[in-house]
């Protein structure tokens, strides 16, 4: 019995051992299958993952292209500076570390805020600047203590700098950190590959418009990196390609003169070379310091700029719209001549007002009592409203609209800065669509002297003036004259040819130009501003009403400053062979003759004769500044 059990138990044991061996074999088959799956079937996938682990692709930011004026003066440049940077993945307690660091090197609350913001945006492994622009002493102080701060290093980085500060700030614009919105826009355009999330991008002005020229191509370094983020060696590097330089038509010295000429006034000036369409100066006052934006602007500074009633961030030259006022009259005159509604010798007797036939509605001239016998020449020189009321009525809105539109009013000029608005050149269709109202003859009369629904930007006005100056050729106004390739130094010229031409007869042009020259001579509305000019100076003053006091006299001083009329002036010189055409708008400047025309004179004197302007004369309001 016991023996049998012995045998039975031995047999049972061997059976069980066989089962165990079978299970062991089965499990090893499973493990080998799994290893086969990982190492053969999925090998490529895991190899890629291992490479991604090992190889850190570090972008190398290209040098951003420079922005230079027509004489080679730098408007935007880069400079290398030391930054103190922290690699968060190598640091345990960031706050404690920053606290320690601040004992050694000054770290302001602003630096901390910026660091926090970047920390939220950046992937872990990259290093984030905590302080920028270290001086030599700070660099030395950190170098001595470096061993105490693992994960902190000093890097040389390139910074954007705008050496002229406020001058031409609206033209040059600025760059800033890439935002989420910027990045998704780049993704839509398929350009995101050229940027990293910690990059800079042009936000405003030329920096924005020519981003793709200025940017260059990002280079890459493939760095072998261990799990702790330490770089072992560089496996491969693709050098970055520097951005192209922008050579502007703009003359920064002229720009400076023009900006200074505004004094404390708000307003805008655009000067165009009528022969090329190149923008010689583009002023929007007040300006701002673009350097504030590069490293992220302080909230308080931002609020001050953004909430200011003077709106310094608006580019008035292309975003501000104003009634053109009497600067509209030369264009109306050309319309009358070209369309056969007026001749040079046609005269009216101006009683100081115009009565609209039928309705009996009275439109007043700016000069009570009127200008007497007025022909076209005198109507322009003295800015006679009554003459142009009648002309407008004879032309009718459709003719006015179609003729004036040729000068670019009512649509964007296509200048190479973003944000331009189109202004408004009213028409019958426009009014029906906008107000669902039919056009009245009375509306036409106001349009005739540049009031009513008319709205123009200073840039449009300058472009239109340049068309009169150059005999009808239309250029697309452009700030950049040439783009210089960073690799080859080859220059590419931007559109030096006219896009179209307004058909104008020379004799009509001469008539209008001669009248505009007489505007700046004794008897003209800008006589004071034109006094003693050493070149023939063609111009036209204008006043744009801010509040509706049409046809009534009012006392300037009794009206709050911001309700004063805007002063306008257009002009070009030398009249026989114009080299420069300008349009000026001075917000709340009162009459064009007293504030806007003197600015034009300074700009022309400087551009044509090289005369630096003297301090603004205080007698401007007393002398011969008649009319608008």
């Amino acid at each position: 019995m016991e023996l049998r059990d012995h045998q039975r138990e031995l047999h049972l044991f061997q059976m069980r051992l066989a089962i165990a061996a079978f299970v062991v074999a089965g499990i090893f088959v499973v493990i080998l299958s799994r290893l086969f799956y990982l190492q053969v079937i999925q090998h490529d996938y895991y190899e890629l993952l291992a490479e991604q682990n090992r190889v850190n692709i570090v972008p190398v930011v290209p040098h951003r292209g420079l922005i230079l004026d027509r004489n080679g003066v730098t408007l935007a440049s880069n400079y290398a500076a030391y930054t103190l940077e922290i690699t968060p993945s190598q640091v345990g307690d960031l706050n404690a570390l920053i606290g320690e660091l601040s004992n050694l090197i000054e770290i302001t609350p602003k630096d901390r805020r910026r660091f926090q913001k970047l920390l939220e945006e950046e992937p872990d492994f990259s290093s984030i600047p905590i302080r920028t622009r270290l001086n030599d002493e700070e660099v030395a102080r950190f170098a001595v203590n470096r061993y105490r701060f693992p994960g902190v290093q000093i890097n040389a980085r390139l910074f954007r700098h705008y050496p002229n500060n406020e001058v031409a700030s609206h033209v040059v614009g600025y760059i800033g950190r890439l935002s989420e919105a910027d990045f998704s826009r780049l993704q839509q355009k398929g350009l995101a590959y050229n940027y990293t999330k910690s990059d800079y991008i042009g936000k405003v002005g030329l920096e924005e418009y020519y981003e793709q020229e200025l940017r260059g191509v990002t280079g890459y370094e493939h760095v072998e990196t261990d799990a702790n983020g330490h770089s072992i060696r560089t496996l491969r590097s693709i050098l970055p390609v520097s951005g192209n330089n922008l050579l502007l038509a703009l003359d920064v010295r002229l720009q400076r003169v023009a900006e200074a000429a505004f004094g404390d006034y708000r307003g805008s000036l655009v000067a165009i070379d009528p022969e090329t369409g190149g923008v010689l100066a583009l002023v929007s006052r007040p300006g701002f310091d673009p350097n504030l934006f590069v490293e992220g602007i302080e909230p308080a500074q931002w609020a001050a700029l953004n909430d200011s009633p003077d709106h310094p961030l608006n580019n008035r030259a292309l975003q501000g719209v104003y009634p053109p006022g009497s600067t509209f009259k030369p264009f109306m005159a050309l319309a009358g001549l070209e369309l056969g509604k007026r001749t040079a010798s046609y005269t009216i007797n101006d009683p100081g007002y115009f009565v609209l036939g039928g309705s009996g509605h009275v439109f007043r001239d700016w000069k009570a009592g009127g200008h007497g016998i007025v022909d076209m020449h005198k109507a322009i020189v003295q800015s006679c409203d009554t003459y142009f009321y009648g002309l407008a009525q004879d032309l009718g809105i459709d003719m006015i609209h179609d003729f004036i539109a040729q000068f670019g009013f009512g649509r964007r000029t296509g200048i190479d800065i973003a944000g331009e608005v189109g202004g408004l050149l009213p028409s019958r269709e426009w009014k029906e669509q906008r107000f669902n109202q039919r056009w009245y003859v009375g509306d036409t009369i106001s349009v005739g002297i540049g009031q009513g629904y008319n709205l123009v930007t200073p840039l449009q006005l300058a472009l239109a003036t340049s068309i009169i100056a150059n005999g009808g050729r239309i250029f697309r106004p452009h700030l950049v004259q040439q783009v210089q390739n960073s690799q080859t130094n080859d220059l590419t010229t931007i559109e030096p040819y006219p896009l179209a031409e307004v058909p104008l007869q020379p004799r009509y042009l001469d008539l209008v130009r001669n009248a505009m020259v007489d505007v700046t001579r004794p008897g003209g509305t800008a006589a004071w501003a034109g006094r003693g000019a050493k070149y023939s100076f063609a111009g036209k003053t204008g006043t744009a009403q801010v509040i509706g006091l049409r046809g009534q006299q009012y006392d300037e001083d009794s009206i709050a400053k911001r309700h004063r009329d805007h002063a306008l002036f257009i002009g070009f010189a030398p009249a026989e062979a114009p080299k420069i055409a300008v349009a000026i708008m001075v917000e709340n400047g009162g009459h064009g003759s007293s504030t806007a025309a003197p600015i034009a004179r300074k700009v022309l004197d400087y551009y044509l004769l090289g005369i630096e302007p003297k301090a603004l004369a205080t007698s401007a309001h007393d002398e011969g500044s008649e009319g608008d």
């Binding site: 051992l17 090893f28 080998l32 895991y46 682990n53 072992i232």
Partner: protein, 364 residues
């Protein structure tokens, strides 16, 4: 003279086991050198551990079978008492109370149980040879469960599983009825939810991580992700000794201990894995052959239990590294760095040798 010394040393050493153990240990030294980043210090320390463990193996191989049977009960009781002491005054490390500080050294009593439990059970069944009844299996089960629970409470899930496995293997080999076995399995599955609730958070995390490592790629899933990347990127031939990027650039955690198999797989590829697995399979096969031919019930069960425990180490470790099993702290036998496991495992191999050679010398 020298011949006689060699004969004395080699008298109880099984030649096949010795060759396999030597090959695996040699592989281990190579891999450890690479895994430690070429550290001579680490490698030397590993070699010293090997020397100590081989000495222990030699001693075990020379213990006569009847002595072994005699120390089974005292060893088991000794281990149990140590476990209770640990429970009361153990040293805490990494959130678990596993160590006993003896002043000059720290020992891990749970390690003792990996040998003591199968030995105790083998001895117990041997006493009731030929008259085994159901109640014997109940008693044996209790003998396994008490130390397993004590170890699981430390908590040390890996060791508890290994001790439980060792006990289970002996029960199974002793002839635990298949019907009962089936019953235990059903009960086990039914108990899973309760077992789940008794797990520590980090243990739950490990199981969840296995199902989807990517849910926490930098936390609990990191080990599994990095080890499968290392293994998979090794390919068929491997990246070459000292050239594994995952291991050399420190992406692999625990690369000289529990995850050393990933270093090996990355540098030597599937080919190397097949060779290593073949060596392990041969070693386990040899252990099973020894068990099959062992002279007594005690030696049969002990040899079978020890061999299958060794196998459990191998498959749990490889399964963990390959992403098939949750991350439990089980080293790869004879390869991973760490003296305690090495001594325990080679002591087990020594027992196999003792069983083998004593059968030859002492016929029953």
């Amino acid at each position: 003279m020298i011949n006689r010394l060699l004969a004395f040393v080699g008298r109880h050493l099984d030649r096949q086991l010795m060759v396999l153990v030597t090959l695996i240990l040699a592989t281990g030294i190579l891999v450890l050198f690479s895994a430690s980043g070429g550290s001579a210090e680490r490698t030397t320390s590993h070699i010293i551990n090997i020397a100590i463990a081989l000495t222990v193996m030699w001693i075990a191989a020379n213990i006569p079978l009847h002595y072994l049977a005699r120390i089974a009960l005292p060893l088991y009781l000794f281990g149990l008492i140590l476990l209770i002491i640990v429970e009361v005054i153990g040293v805490e490390a990494k959130g678990a109370q596993r160590w006993l500080n003896l002043g000059f050294m720290r020992i891990q009593p749970s390690e003792v149980m990996k040998i003591a439990v199968p030995m105790m059970l083998a001895w117990y069944f041997d006493r009731y040879e030929a008259v085994l009844r159901f109640r014997n299996f109940v008693t044996a089960t209790i003998l396994v469960i008490v130390p397993v629970l004590l170890i699981a409470r430390q908590p040390d899930l890996g060791t508890a599983l290994l001790v439980a496995a060792a006990g289970f293997y002996v029960l199974f080999l002793a002839g635990l009825s298949m019907r009962l076995l089936f019953g235990i399995m059903v009960a086990g599955i039914a108990a899973l939810p309760f077992l789940w609730n008794s797990l520590h958070d980090y243990q739950k995390q490990r199981v969840l991580t296995l199902i989807d490592p990517m849910q926490d790629p930098l936390g609990a899933g990191y080990h599994t992700i990095q080890s499968t990347i290392a293994m998979g990127s090794g390919g068929f031939l491997g990246k070459g000794w000292l050239n594994g990027t995952q291991s050399q650039l420190e992406f692999l955690p625990e690369r000289s201990t529990d995850f050393i198999f990933a270093v090996y797989g990355e540098e030597f590829g599937l080919l190397g894995n097949m060779i290593l697995i073949t060596l392990f399979v041969l070693l386990i096969a040899r252990g099973l052959v020894i068990a099959a031919n062992a002279p007594t019930m005690f030696s049969r069960l002990l040899a079978g239990g020890v061999t299958l425990t060794f196998f459990t180490y191998v498959f749990v470790n490889m399964g963990m590294v390959g992403g098939l099993l949750p991350v439990v702290g089980v080293p790869l036998p004879l390869i991973s760095y760490g003296g305690t496991a090495l001594v325990t495992l080679l002591f087990g191999v020594g027992l196999l040798m003792s069983i083998r050679t004593n059968r030859r010398l002492v016929q029953t």
